[in-house]
């Protein structure tokens, strides 16, 4: 269960210190966020059809959460959008500016995917190096400051905690300033307290960007999503868009959030006996 209140956390447990000074938005201009209309008529995995008729609408500059139990095919949807799985002929992915999506995506995995031999700084400069561009040290330094790792810039990933590693991964994702950010269960490997903190940081850092995030944690979706889609059932069906209101990150102890939580649990097929 998610910890409700960060103030109740004992001081000795705060190895993953909250960033002291948070600048909010970066000082670097953001690429204009794009909206994406995704219409997947069917998705196959190993020659077997696993999903059909998936319609997702990503609002520009907002976070959309795709919620569902493990193994339901969430990652396959993400991979199809990223172009790693072929798009079936009757499927389509449309962007609000009519330009193709290819080359405008950043990806954040549930594993930090850090290079174990490279310092934090080198890790977030990897994208520039892979593209053959000149690394932007100013931006890299600033992003590491913003995720609260100002004293860990030269540290190797092995010297960092799980939460710190995902902070580096977050900074690396933001280095590219992509119009669309795909995120696959970024906090699933973290303990509840660290996860709670990182959700707050995540919201702050990705403010104003179009994000599609996969999660299996209903409370996580409720805390940070502007739109929530639920993927569940047998056969698997996609729920209509569950629109959320109010500023993010939301307080999990909020009463209206509780009601939504109950609703989502019932949509996931959980009966009273399961809880």
């Amino acid at each position: 269960m998610v910890v409700n209140d960060t103030t109740s956390v004992a001081p000795q447990a705060t190895t993953d210190a909250r960033p002291r000074q948070m600048a909010g938005d970066t000082d670097f201009p953001l690429a204009p966020p794009i909206g994406v209309k995704i219409n997947l008529s069917d998705i196959s995995y190993n020659g077997q059809m696993i999903l059909e008729n998936i319609k997702l609408n990503l609002e520009p500059g907002k976070t959309t959460c795709l919620l569902g139990p493990s193994g339901v095919g969430k990652t396959s949807i993400l991979k199809t959008i990223a172009g790693f799985l072929p798009l079936s002929p009757s499927s389509s992915i449309q962007t609000s500016d009519e330009e193709p999506l290819r080359g405008r995506i950043s990806y954040m995995d549930q594993n930090d995917l850090l290079l174990p031999w490279a310092s934090c700084l080198d890790n977030i400069l990897i994208s520039a190096r892979l593209k053959g561009e000149k690394p932007d040290f100013d931006k890299a330094n600033q992003l590491l400051d913003q995720v609260g790792l100002q004293d860990k810039k030269q540290a190797l990933p092995a010297e960092l905690s799980g939460g710190m590693k995902q902070r580096v991964a977050l900074a690396r994702t933001l280095m590219d300033d992509s119009p669309l950010v795909l995120v696959d269960e970024p906090f699933s490997a973290l303990d509840a307290i660290t996860r709670h903190r990182l959700q707050g940081l995540f919201v702050k850092m990705l403010h104003g960007r179009t994000v599609l995030m996969i999660t299996h944690d209903p409370m996580e979706a409720l805390r940070i999503g502007h739109h929530i889609y639920i993927l569940a059932g047998n056969p698997v069906l996609l729920s209509p868009d569950l629109k959320m209101t109010g500023p993010v990150p939301r307080d999990p102890s909020d009463k209206s959030l509780r009601q939504r939580y109950e609703l989502i649990l019932s949509m996931l097929g959980m009966t009273g006996a399961d809880r």
Partner: protein
């Protein structure tokens, strides 16, 4: 410290057993000389042994340099093309199935008595473990990482060859270095075998030659002295390689022996 102690005890123990056996059985010294005799011979003929050891060391080092370089190049080439592997692997395995002892006479016939045939022999047995280990490492790069790298590279148009080069340079090769290190460790351990086998078959210099020569003249103490030198050289080579590899790949947690 405790490691040094253990090594000393082990070597001391083995030497004692050896000395004890020669003392109890009183074997003639051309069958089994005592450790003291061997040591005497080692000091006595020190210049001859050093000269031959230098030849063998040169063969081993050249074999290592060529074998490792070829292994690295082959592994990279094979990993870039899926189909190349299917064609090349059977040949690689066949080359390993033929015992190096069997082709040693041929190599000496073709490449003469000099150092070349020994270097080729050492190269042949080093090449395989290096190639196979490094190839394994290159093929084991996390798919999620490659996907992410692909997304990053799609953000900018560039030549495909350049992009492939950068993926190797920044991701695949570094990830494969621990596997390459395993291959090089095996190579360092087997390289002396190649060189000495070559010397046995036909040579005019080297520790293998010296051993054969001493054996033919019943100078068993000299044979043992040469053998001891070879053993010490091989052990030093292995630990030096291991040490250098550990420094080079500090970040990897498994780099301890």
């Amino acid at each position: 410290m405790s490691r040094l102690f253990r090594i000393t005890v082990t070597i001391g123990g083995l030497l004692s057993i050896w000395a004890f056996i020669t003392w109890v059985t009183d074997l003639p010294k051309f069958i089994l000389p005592s450790p003291l005799l061997v040591l005497n011979k080692l000091i006595d003929r020190y210049d001859t042994i050093a000269e031959h050891a230098a030849t063998t060391a040169l063969e081993i080092l050249l074999g290592l340099a060529i074998g490792i370089s070829l292994g690295i190049l082959s592994a990279i080439l094979i990993s870039t093309h899926r189909h190349v592997k299917q064609w090349v692997m059977p040949v690689l395995i066949a080359s390993q199935a033929i015992p190096v002892f069997a082709i040693a006479p041929l190599l000496v016939l073709w490449l003469d008595y000099g150092i070349t045939s020994k270097v080729v022999m050492a190269t042949l047995i080093i090449y395989f473990p290096v190639t196979v280990n490094f190839l394994d490492g290159l093929n084991r790069t996390a798919p999620a990482w490659l996907d992410m790298a692909t997304l990053m590279q799609q953000q900018k148009r560039s030549f495909r060859l350049l992009q492939a080069y950068r993926i190797y340079r920044y991701v695949r090769i570094p990830f494969a270095l621990p596997a390459l290190a395993s291959g090089i460790r095996i190579a360092a351990a087997v390289a002396p075998i190649g060189a000495v086998v070559g010397e046995w078959v036909g040579s005019s210099s080297g520790l293998g030659y010296l051993m054969l020569h001493a054996n033919g003249r019943m100078q068993t103490d000299l044979l043992f002295a040469a053998l001891l030198t070879l053993t010490i050289m091989s052990i030093c080579l292995f630990y030096l390689t291991d040490y250098l590899l550990r420094i080079a790949i500090k970040w990897h947690p498994d780099q301890t022996y």
